[in-house]
Amino acid sequence: MYFFNARLRFKIRPTATTIPGSIIAASAISAVDLERRKFGDYGHFKKKLLDPQLYVATVDPALDPEIVARLAAYPWFHGEDVPKYKSGEHGTRTAWKKKHKGSLISKWTRTVPTTPDAIRKAAHAAVEFQLKLGCDGILLAVPLTTIADQTLQAELDWIEAGIQACADLKVQCPVYATVALSEAVLHVPALKNPLVHALSNYVASRAELAGAYIVLEQTEPSSYFWNSKDPLMALLVLVDDLVRGAGKKVIVNYVGTFGLVANAVGAEIWSTGYYLMQRRFSLKGMTGIARPRYHSLALAGDIGVKEDLARIRNAGLVDKLMTPTSADAVLRTALARGKRPRFCAGMEILAKQLLCRTRALLANRLRDGCEARFDVPGSATRLGSEVANRSREIGGCYRAEGTRRNCDRYESSKSLARCLHRLE
């Protein structure tokens, strides 16, 4: 099931099929705005989850002051000290945010609470906030795993505090432990990475947990995609351990359209969006320029339009990797004539550094006119059946491989990862 990574603006263009739900990232919208939103007006909020994003706690305010100001106002960070917004007293929410932005940023310690009492309070606040918001599941606040320390003491302390908070607050909906892993701890063969198994083992062993919400942090944000195999494999191993092994549910986020592969392996929900901050997560830069991508059904993934399309043409892989649609006819003709994509009509602008506003306008234009070409929910829904078929096909590969040894089970995703690697 696809979920949309919601941003400050909830409104999205109508899609051919309904997006069943959304994940709201705490960094995308401030608490003061979120608490006042009406979700019923938007179809893609029929089901909603709030990601408390404790794993972002170490982000540098110098890099992303806006994001830090939003996060810091949540009660599981430093929001307890923030004066409550009252319209009569503070005027508009924008004025309130502007007034408190400086003090919120100054309170940002780039650490997570470590004492048992502070952890208990923060974990409780995160669960309580999600309940008040009417979330359809609880995502427990858990810090980012950045060191391959097998005690996982901090992570387990937070998970346990979250489980306790859910019991105290009599939570009825499914509870997911956040498993936020830095790429730095995943550069070993996934099946031999004890950290991966320790985490899945722990989530599997806690009956109170419906499953895990898995987030991977990209340590090198210059890449739009994950371009190394091991972290992606680690994701698949985690999903496989939890779904096939322990019968749990898994939600994956911030791996772009690789979430579709995780979905095929068994993840219940995969989530992404149009913009960079909706597609991948990196502490070295939460936001950045989001270039639209060519969405390839053959790859179940995206292809960079700046250079990779030309590489594909030069490698003679156009027929294999590109999905002919009426929308990309111009692009394919241009490629066939030996032109680089940046000289294609409507593409030239992509090669330039764009201002935020221009980027937003461009994104809208692209969604209007070139849906099939780009990995936006519009394209995924227009071509929904083909995507679903591809998903089933990949899932079939896994099931067919199921009788082989564990290592072999990942061959199909390995080839996919290799393919992505080459393209990137």
Partner: protein, 279 residues
């Protein structure tokens, strides 16, 4: 050289002020000595008449582990776990010594039983049923036993089993007292994750270890001759080793021996399975 008991029975009885009447010496090891004893008075001097296994901990280096065992068992009452009756410190011949009085289990350690050969399929199932219920009770308190081995399972004449010795048990809320890269337990019974010295163990580790014990029960000898590397890399198959036992039991043991911990059945479901299989 066999470790010897540094104290005489009279010295020990005198140190307790006559509250305990010592019987046979049940075990002597590097870490301590265990007596069968009768407790005739409680610490508050009120009369009682309990059969106990009185363990004197001789290795002061193990004090933290002893304390952890005490903390784990102090308030835990379960039919498949030995009950802690009393604990404290006494001075014997000028030496401060930790002691724990456990309920006396009128039975036989499983290792001694297995020295006479394999047990029947039903006996093995009953042992599995009781030990899984102990694992469930411990895991409900976030405790992993970490040393499930025949020497730590007492079998009673009625066929029931009791898990003893939580000296290596780890409560998840506690920091590790095992040095980094080291592991606790009995070689030949480590789960793969325990063998890799992982710290964040769960009940799945005890489940794996119990499967090794079960195979040993059915075979009458250790399934890999205590080859820990083999256990951690390619665990034995019940289908090959004990083809004569029931299909469901073999399949259950094979699931318990999965290398990936998340693929092992949870202890509570196993307990239900073994309860059903026990006749």
């Amino acid at each position: 050289m066999m470790p010897s008991n540094p104290f005489s029975a009279k010295e020990v009885e005198a140190s307790f002020g006559g509250r305990y009447v010592l019987g046979a010496e049940l075990r002597v090891g590097g870490q301590g000595v265990v007596y069968r004893a009768k407790r005739v008075r409680l610490p508050d001097s009120s009369a009682c008449n309990d059969e106990v296994a009185l363990k004197l901990h001789l290795d002061a280096k193990q004090d933290k582990r002893v304390q952890r065992e005490i903390e784990a068992m102090k308030h835990l009452r379960h039919p498949a776990l030995a009950t802690l009756l009393e604990e404290g410190t006494i001075t014997i011949s000028g030496k401060q010594t930790r002691y724990i009085a456990w309920e006396f289990i009128d039975g036989e350690p499983l290792d001694l039983r297995l020295s006479r050969g394999a047990v029947t399929e039903q006996e093995a199932i009953r042992i599995a049923r009781d030990v899984t219920s102990a694992i469930v009770a411990l895991w409900a308190r976030h405790i992993v036993h970490r040393d499930i081995a025949p020497k730590n399972i007492m079998t009673k004449p009625n066929g029931s089993a009791i898990l003893i010795d939580l000296g290596g048990a780890r409560h998840l809320d506690n920091t590790s007292i095992t040095a980094a890269g080291m592991t606790f337990g009995t070689p030949g019974y480590f789960s793969p994750e325990q063998f890799r010295a992982e710290r964040a163990l769960t009940s799945a580790s005890d489940v794996f270890t119990l499967a090794v014990v079960l195979l040993e029960c059915l075979l009458g000898h250790h399934p890999t001759n205590h080859d820990q590397h083999q256990l951690a890399s390619s665990p034995p198959s019940a289908n090959l080793l004990v083809p004569g036992v029931g299909t469901e039991l073999r399949e259950t043991i094979n699931q318990m021996l999965q290398l990936r911990a998340a693929f092992r059945p949870p202890a509570d479901k196993l307990h239900i399975t073994f309860q059903r299989l026990a006749k």
